[in-house]
Subunit: 210 residues, 2 copies
Amino acid sequence: MIKLYGFWRSLAAYRVRIALRLKNILFEETEVDLLAGAQFKPDFDALNPQHAVPVLEHEGQHLIQSLPIIEYLEERFPAHPLLPTDALGRARVRALAQIAASDVHPLIVPRVRNFLSAEMGLDEPQKLRFIQHWFGMGSAALEAKLAREAETGTCAHGDSVTMADVVLASHVVGARLFKTDLSNAPTLTALVDRCLAQPAFDPGRLTQGH
Amino acid sequence: MIKLYGFWRSLAAYRVRIALRLKNILFEETEVDLLAGAQFKPDFDALNPQHAVPVLEHEGQHLIQSLPIIEYLEERFPAHPLLPTDALGRARVRALAQIAASDVHPLIVPRVRNFLSAEMGLDEPQKLRFIQHWFGMGSAALEAKLAREAETGTCAHGDSVTMADVVLASHVVGARLFKTDLSNAPTLTALVDRCLAQPAFDPGRLTQGH
């Protein structure tokens, strides 16, 4: 049995959960209470010294980082593929995923928000502006690519769901949590809303707070 | 001919340059002067609406984001492989790469540093503390994984250079530019220093400023 160590409000764990569901892989989830500091306990540190979720347990091994986990699932469970078959298409899907997962999400996670207030003295309105700014920058770049490029279909790459849609869904869910203005990203929000209508993309309690 | 759009002080372009050299792929490089704002000009916006380097030009196509570019090079130019042959090994290499490329580097790039000073009012000592904090956090996580895990060899994964070493080299070069204390990461710095002794890892002018 595959086990996912996740947390209800983690956008990165949400990505892995979507991928597991899309691939019809049976899994159980263990909640790591990030608000209570469970990620710093020795048991969890042994699984992931980065003290973050998701962690995927498979065949006694523990894998970290959402995109490498999804790539691993793709290699070990090829049914319901989440990457195109051509190298150029895979590069595009991976790039769309990285824009959101690398250049936006790491800037707005709780550890960064806490550091900005506790150590840099930012107040809540400043932090919110910081968060909205980076969600906005990422959304603008994603929108430009999606709107311009012929590869975009009803999904981010063609008409089948890929890893790009998985990550873009986490991006838009996160942006909306922080009330980011996404009116300039209609292509992005339209394709994510089509995804969010599917059960595999159920964000669960993620939409309830941050 | 492959063309790399890069910039001398970009850690992400440095990664792609290393990968191209390790694979003995002939390429030419076009400098995009990020200090002069060349990334915002219409010509470059057409190549990458994210307004960042690297961009790789191959067979008339333009690819963005350093890790997807390296994965593409790996698929199209399989000689001198930069990923292990087993799925578990690939997942580990990709995870090590993401810790540095996703959870540290996007926090310290010029666009973020500029926003923190111009919009959030941070002074230079605060910005330096912010930068050193995240380089330190990432280095601690990397060190724990590298020191604990049996897969670590003379390189990050076994005794052959992989994408993990490529990204860890950019991480350590960046951390040193900002005078981050890396004394708690001896495994990390030792393996990167072995890499830096190889011509493919020449950081060029990167060590001259930031």
